[in-house]
């Protein structure tokens, strides 16, 4: 009896003593993590050693470069709405994450990145693969923290997840020294975090501002809604739809907000910004009340600020107080989570239609179709265009696919023309404009939304920046459709050189490898199409193919994306050619 009594607690104690590495993996499982994108290395080996014991409970995707890993994490988060998790080792492993962190911060993508770090006693000694990751990553993370003792791991991890996904989401980095990963300690139950005293994820909704906003909207003759990714991040798609449908207000989107309501919704008047649609840009400077929801008036959206919507009263709904008045002064600021504020506003706005005002958008749209879109999407002669590739794809997927675009002309074409029936279907590097984003992000998106068709839409420049991730596809067996629209140029830079630098094509002529052979080397099926008559069947073959497929489409070399608001011009000075 006595010995039993003595032994029992000891045994229990023994069971509870685990390594920091194991505590981390257990914590991740408790947070509901099912997929990790990572790359092992010296300083993160104890975590990987623990991961080995849990390899049946969590899927680790071995990437080919840490940048690929973090973009995959972003794609996963954007497609699934969950937090993306990324592992990297110390030093170069961690510094390779920086581009992705900056991208995730500016695009408000929830990520938890775990980096290994040298032993705590070696910090600051220029140890092998030591980099000051906390300092380097500070400006590009929402929060970061260095763990030097295993006992900190459970709380730090819970806090990391809470901060990453709450309020305006963003990337969080935990830098864990090797000794902390190895250290045995008594680990309690994982407790999720719900409160950090210095952190206010959501401002309190102030009813009087909802009231004022509703009054402005109800008096408005020409109200206009701009929406951004905030709708998607706040899972407020239904609330948003209810709001626009009751108020009858035409609504346009930033590329980060694309797909929050379907492309063919009658009140969806199109894309904002530099390469956005004609009507939304011109009419920004004609509306009387501008209602911005979950968007931040990026310079690519506003063009010249001192000539931006000066005639309009501005209502700005945002969860992040630092966005209010940052670029455009708000007449009425509605701080808060749009999932809470939109229903309050919907209740107070009068049910209306604005047929004449909406008609203006439709008139501009018709002009844009005649002057730009028809030739881009349905050319009958000449070389192929990027637009017709997207158009054919739309017809074949019926708008149900997730489109992951890269950066440049391909991105603008994808965002302008992709038919999106569902939210979380347009994944692109909006704020940072990271070339090489599409391929790894598409891989992540497929893991995040395994039941959906995921298409990476990239140019011949961007694809070469992260092409090594074909190896990730090969090893993981993930099913991603890759379209390379090849114009044999760094097309967007070339377009600017043509328009603004007297066609001085400075280093934009880029040579591609034989992509089909490269794909073949990775065991990925592929095809190259140069003739229009083969495009549709090739796309059909790609979509029908079981597993990943790479389709290279040769498109016209010197095509420009229009309309365009030239830099330094007002949105109403948008050019159709």
């Amino acid at each position: 009896m006595l010995t039993q009594e003595k032994q029992a607690p000891e045994l229990l104690e023994e069971k509870k003593t685990i390594s920091g590495g194991e505590a981390l993996i257990r914590g991740l499982l408790k947070e509901g993590v099912d997929t990790i994108f990572g790359y092992p290395g010296g300083a993160i080996m104890p975590i990987y050693d623990s991961l080995y014991d849990y390899r049946d409970q969590v899927n680790h995707v071995l990437v080919r470069h840490e940048q690929g890993g973090i973009h995959a994490g972003q794609g996963y988060a954007r497609a699934s709405g969950k937090v993306g998790v990324v592992f990297a080792t110390s030093g170069p492993g961690a510094t390779n994450l920086i581009t992705g962190l900056a991208d995730a911060l500016i695009d408000s993508t929830p990520l938890v990145c775990i980096t290994g770090q040298v032993f705590a006693h070696l910090l600051g000694t220029d140890a092998f693969q030591e980099a000051d990751v906390i300092s380097i990553s500070a400006p590009v993370t929402k929060w970061n923290y260095q763990v030097t003792d295993a006992s900190e791991i459970p709380e730090a991890l819970a806090k990391a997840f809470y901060i990453a996904k709450s309020g305006r989401p963003g990337p969080v980095l935990l830098d864990i020294t090797k000794n902390a990963q190895l250290q045995q300690f008594t680990c309690g139950e994982h407790t999720p975090c719900y409160h950090v005293r210095s952190y206010r994820p959501k401002p309190i909704v102030r009813k009087e501002y909802i009231q004022q906003a509703a009054e402005l909207i109800n008096q408005a003759k020409k109200p206009f809604i701009l929406w951004g990714q905030g709708i998607v991040l706040g899972s407020a798609e239904q609330e948003f739809k209810a709001f626009i449908e009751k108020s009858g207000i035409p609504a346009a989107w930033t590329i980060m907000g694309a797909g929050a309501i379907p492309s063919d919704h009658p009140l969806n008047v199109g894309m904002l910004g530099m390469h956005g649609n004609y009507g939304p840009n011109v009419l920004t400077n004609e509306c009387d009340v501008l209602i911005a929801i979950g968007m931040r008036f990026d310079d690519r959206v506003t063009g010249r600020l001192d000539k931006y919507a000066k005639q309009a009263k501005v209502i700005h709904l945002d969860i992040d107080p630092s966005e209010i008045d940052k670029n455009v002064k708000a007449t009425v600021p509605v701080w808060g989570d749009c999932k809470e504020t939109l229903p309050l506003l919907t209740e107070l706005v009068e049910a209306k239609n604005h047929p004449e005002w909406l008609q203006k958008f439709n008139d501009y749209a018709a002009e844009e179709v005649a002057q730009v879109i028809q030739d881009e999407l349905h050319p009958t002669s000449g070389e192929m265009t990027m637009g017709e590739v997207m158009q054919q794809l739309n017809e074949l997927t019926n708008g149900d696919a997730i489109i992951v675009s890269d950066v440049g002309q391909n991105q603008m074409v994808a965002c302008r023309y992709a038919k999106l029936n569902h939210t979380r279907s347009n994944i692109t590097s909006g704020g940072l404009g990271t070339m090489g984003f599409a391929l790894p992000a598409a891989i992540g998106a497929k893991f995040g939304a395994p039941d959906r068709t995921v298409v990476a839409f990239a140019g011949d420049g961007g694809i070469q920046m992260t092409i090594q991730e074909l190896g990730t596809i090969m090893q993981s067996g993930v099913d991603v459709k890759i379209i390379i629209v090849n114009n044999q140029f760094l097309g967007m830079v070339r377009q600017w050189q043509q328009l603004f630098h007297e066609r001085r094509y400075s280093f934009v002529d880029i040579i591609s490898p034989d992509y089909i052979k490269v794909a073949e080397g990775y065991g990925i099926a592929g095809k190259k199409v140069s003739e229009r008559e083969n495009l549709r069947s090739a796309l059909q073959e790609m979509l029908a193919h079981k597993g990943s497929y790479l389709l290279e489409v040769m498109v016209t070399k010197e095509n420009n994306v229009f309309p365009m608001v030239p830099q330094g011009c007002s949105v109403s000075e948008i050019r159709l050619k």
Binding site: I134, A138, W143, S198, R206, Y209, Q212, P321, S322, T331
Partner: protein, 201 residues
């Protein structure tokens, strides 16, 4: 640009933070990313245990300062940020002056010098004497001029510290922060309240 320059003035930014590694860096980069210089920076424990207080002096326009303070407040470990003009705060800087004792004792009317400059002697040794004074920049500058002829050996000035004239302290606000569900008194509303006076519809 010119107009911008004219509108610039000194602002005293007060930041209440958790005492965490790396936070100084995070706050500093908010200025450095805009290529802005910090005129003066003081960080020290506040009256509340575990909470630090930064006093930052920046020469800028109010519009920029407002954006900066919100970006500072957005940092996870920052509790609250205020900004004030010089008129809204009582501020002081402290200065220490080291002079050779023999010269100062022989040549200067030490007593008058100290009284006129509100200074006091902190250390008097055979070889040197250290005076201390507090005040605004001009006052501490002035004593440098006075002591220079007597062979000023070393001089150091602290960062500015400032007390906010209209403040009711931070204790009550902190209790509010510690509640998981904040009440209507929480701080973000302060801006909205004063905003009504600035913007009318």
């Amino acid at each position: 640009m010119n107009q911008n320059h004219i509108d610039r003035q000194e602002f005293n930014i007060t930041v209440y933070t958790e005492h965490h590694v790396g936070l100084l860096n995070r706050i500093a980069t908010i200025f450095s990313r805009r290529k802005m210089n910090i005129e003066s920076l003081n960080t020290s424990p506040s009256e509340i245990e575990g909470i630090h207080r930064f006093n930052i002096v920046i020469n800028e326009t109010e519009d920029v300062i407002r954006k900066l303070t919100r970006q500072i407040e957005k940092q996870v470990e920052v509790l609250k940020v205020y900004y004030h003009t010089n008129e809204d705060v009582i501020w002081q800087e402290m200065a220490l002056y080291k002079v050779p004792t023999d010269v100062i004792a022989e040549k200067a009317l030490v007593e008058r010098l100290l009284r006129e400059n509100g200074a006091r002697a902190v250390v008097i040794r055979k070889d040197y004497t250290v005076f201390e004074t507090t005040g605004h920049r001009e006052e501490t500058d002035n004593l440098i001029k006075v002591l220079q002829p007597y062979g000023l050996i070393e001089f150091v000035r602290s960062a500015r510290i400032a007390i906010i004239k209209g403040s009711e302290g931070f204790n009550r606000k902190l209790r509010e922060f510690e509640r998981a569900e904040p009440g209507s008194e929480t701080l973000e509303n302060e801006y909205l309240n004063s905003r009504e006076k600035i913007f009318s519809m």
